[in-house]
């Protein structure tokens, strides 16, 4: 399946914000975020949606790369954690404004429950991945990171989910992911439900084994693998 060629350059471009090799809308959005102009950032993306821009592309080519860029800027000490939180909160607001578009796509009959490892407050990524599944026609049920394992397992059973999606952000979340998977495997109702995991701790060489059926490195890979999994059912 392979990872799609990202529309952004991995190296910073010249000229500061806006020159990072992002698509123009993403560069503008990033510049608005870094300038603390929430309203402008919001109008840029929501305005594009209102004018008929492809919602999936807004997620994949604008919001996701900008969030990655924000993370990279933090890694380079160009912005502080506080700034990163601010940018993430604005993107969360943008995502909320896009939800009416996301949830009105035709259904494909598959259902999934998505959750973030307990204690993982960096949930935006997995929520956006859930939205991408929703855009592909899945019925997705996102449970917050503070949902106990038993409640997640119950939700998988009650929603008759075809897939359980779990994400982690930090190494310390890996144990919680393993715990959740063990709980799902131990329950007769959910034993056979495929489990997909993703997030930074799983993208490194020698990634920890947590008992998942599939480990994915990107949303796109997750979507493709999910299609394959469902194709065999």
């Amino acid at each position: 399946m392979g990872v799609r060629e990202a529309p952004i350059s991995p190296r910073p471009g010249p000229g500061g914000p806006g020159g990072h090799g992002l698509v123009p809308l993403a560069a503008d959005y990033l510049a608005a975020l870094l300038a603390g102009e929430r309203e402008r950032a919001l109008r840029l993306v929501v305005g594009a949606a209102e004018e008929g821009a492809d919602i999936r592309s807004l997620y994949e080519d604008v919001l996701a790369p900008v969030q990655r860029e924000i993370g990279r800027l933090w890694q380079r000490d160009e912005i502080t954690v506080a700034k990163e939180h601010y940018c993430t909160a604005v993107t969360q607001l943008v995502v909320a404004q896009l939800h009416p578009y996301v949830f009105s796509t035709p259904r494909n009959g598959w259902r999934l429950v998505a959750t973030s490892a307990q204690g993982n407050l960096h949930e935006l990524g997995i929520r956006m991945v859930s939205d991408l599944f929703e855009l592909e026609g899945w019925d997705t049920y996102y449970l917050g990171a503070n949902t106990p394992h038993a409640a997640v397992v119950d939700a998988v059973a009650e929603e008759a989910a075809d897939l359980l999606l779990v994400s982690a952000t930090l190494d310390e979340h890996v144990d919680a992911v393993a715990g959740l998977i063990a709980a799902a495997r131990a329950d007769a109702r959910t034993r056979a439900v495929p489990i997909m995991v993703g997030g930074p701790p799983f993208t490194v060489p020698d990634a920890p084994a947590v008992g998942a059926d599939v480990v994915v490195r990107s949303a796109e890979e997750g979507l493709a693998l999910a299609r394959e999994l469902m194709g065999g059912r």
């Binding site: 909320a96 939800h99 204690g119 917050g144 503070n146 930090l170 310390e172």
Partner: protein
């Protein structure tokens, strides 16, 4: 050590050029137990960043304000620490703390005392400023947790909202289809029962003719109900298309009132119409006439013989204000709230046995709102009611949603 505040995070280490831990100077939380390299202390996500920091130190640069995530260890959760570092005799010194200020303070303490004493830094790190910082840190964590919960709830609600909208659309479509399919057979029932009572299908005795007349009356009411349902379904589903034109207010209002003269005359009710001679309004003529007609019909329906129903149109600022005033029974205050909702009922009864579908005022409200206008009512029991419609003379304001039902915020009446 007394006065220690183990919640304040300070780490100070001396490291070799390849990141190996040579000496632990300060470790408040026991994060270095068993660790051999700097990366052992860190979350994997911060390894790349640590490599860059080491490279900068190796180049002889001092570093400040670097944020690295230290991994969870034992009872201590992962945390973002702010680091500063400098080269020293081929090795590098690194100080990380909960904030840049704390790191600076720990750095100053390191310079002031020898390494054996460095574990005393924990006490030096305690203080009101740090406590405040910790409080802020807790608040940020709490805020993030709350934001996560809100975002999750928002997503769930947005999904449910779309499902409800779909169900509502299905309902409107079903309503429209059923109502539409009922119209033709009802027209046949009315026509045939009228033919029967007129004797065109042979002579009937009085009793049979009475039955045929009743059938026509009941079927007529049903047709009115179906017509109203079709109108309402169209308005509710946002399918109302306004055919906007510049219309003379005088002719528009008088044409709308005319069909009610007979019913008013039958009940000995006087209909008075006052209109400005030259006023014009940019509106859908037919829809505004339907508004006036529904209001006048209602006024006549609920007024006593010998009273007056007044229709008044006038320009006020940039609006056309239409009022329909009756001297009827009035509506109790507690029943006014739901008056413009579909199928609303009141305790007020018609004075001539006329029936009501309960949809007329709901249609009025939606048609007025589609024009960007507002409708309201004032009423006093045993005195009468005043229905007031306010329409922008220039027509509905342009929105991003042409063909939509107008300002969704509504009048709130």
């Amino acid at each position: 050590m007394s006065g220690a505040t183990p919640d304040v995070d300070v780490l100070a280490v001396r490291i070799g050029p390849d990141g190996e831990l040579r000496e632990v100077l300060v470790d408040v939380h026991g994060r270095t137990d068993g660790a051999r390299r700097l990366t052992d202390l860190l979350d994997t996500g911060s390894h790349e960043k640590a490599a860059r920091l080491l490279a900068d130190l190796a180049a002889g640069d001092s570093v400040v304000d670097r944020e690295l995530v230290v991994a969870a260890r034992g009872e201590s959760p992962a945390a973002v620490l702010t680091w500063l570092g400098w080269s020293e005799d081929g090795d590098a010194m690194l100080v990380g703390a909960t904030s840049a200020v704390e790191a600076m303070s720990a750095y100053a303490d390191l310079l002031a005392i020898n390494n054996e004493q460095s574990n005393l830094l924990r006490a030096a790190a305690a203080g009101r400023a740090r406590e405040r910082r910790r409080g802020e840190s807790d608040a940020v964590q709490e805020l993030m947790a709350l934001n996560s919960e809100l975002a999750t709830a928002e997503r769930k609600l947005a999904k449910q909202n779309v499902t409800l909208e779909r169900v509502n659309e299905d309902k409107d479509q079903l309503l429209g289809t059923v109502a539409h399919d009922l119209r033709n057979p009802l027209a046949a029932v009315i026509g045939l029962s009228e033919a029967l009572s007129a004797g065109r299908a042979g002579d009937l005795d009085d009793s049979a003719r009475h039955v045929a007349e009743r059938i026509a009356v009941v079927a007529g009411h049903m047709r009115q109900l179906v017509d109203d349902l079709v109108d309402l379904a169209a308005v509710e589903s946002g399918r109302v298309r306004l055919d906007l034109e510049d219309a003379a207010v005088d002719a528009l209002v008088r044409d709308a009132v005319e069909p009610s003269y007979f019913a008013a005359a039958d009940k000995d009710i006087e209909l008075v119409v006052r209109t400005p001679p030259d006023a014009r309004v940019h509106a859908d003529r037919g829809k505004v006439q339907q508004v006036v007609q529904n209001l006048v019909d209602n006024a006549v329906k609920y007024s006593h013989p010998g009273t007056t129903v007044t229709v008044d149109a006038r320009e006020v600022d940039d609006d056309l204000v239409l009022t329909v005033t009756d001297e009827g029974q009035g509506i109790p205050a507690e029943e006014l709230d739901g008056l413009f909702q579909p199928f609303s009922t009141t305790s007020v009864r018609s004075t001539g046995g006329e029936r009501s579908t309960g949809l007329g005022l709901a249609i009025v409200r939606r048609l007025v709102e589609a024009h960007g206008g507002r409708v309201s009512v004032d009423s006093e029991v045993d005195v009468g009611s005043v229905f007031r419609v306010r329409l922008p003379l220039g027509g509905p304001a342009r929105t991003d949603d042409p063909g939509g039902p107008g300002d969704p915020s509504g009048p709130g009446d």
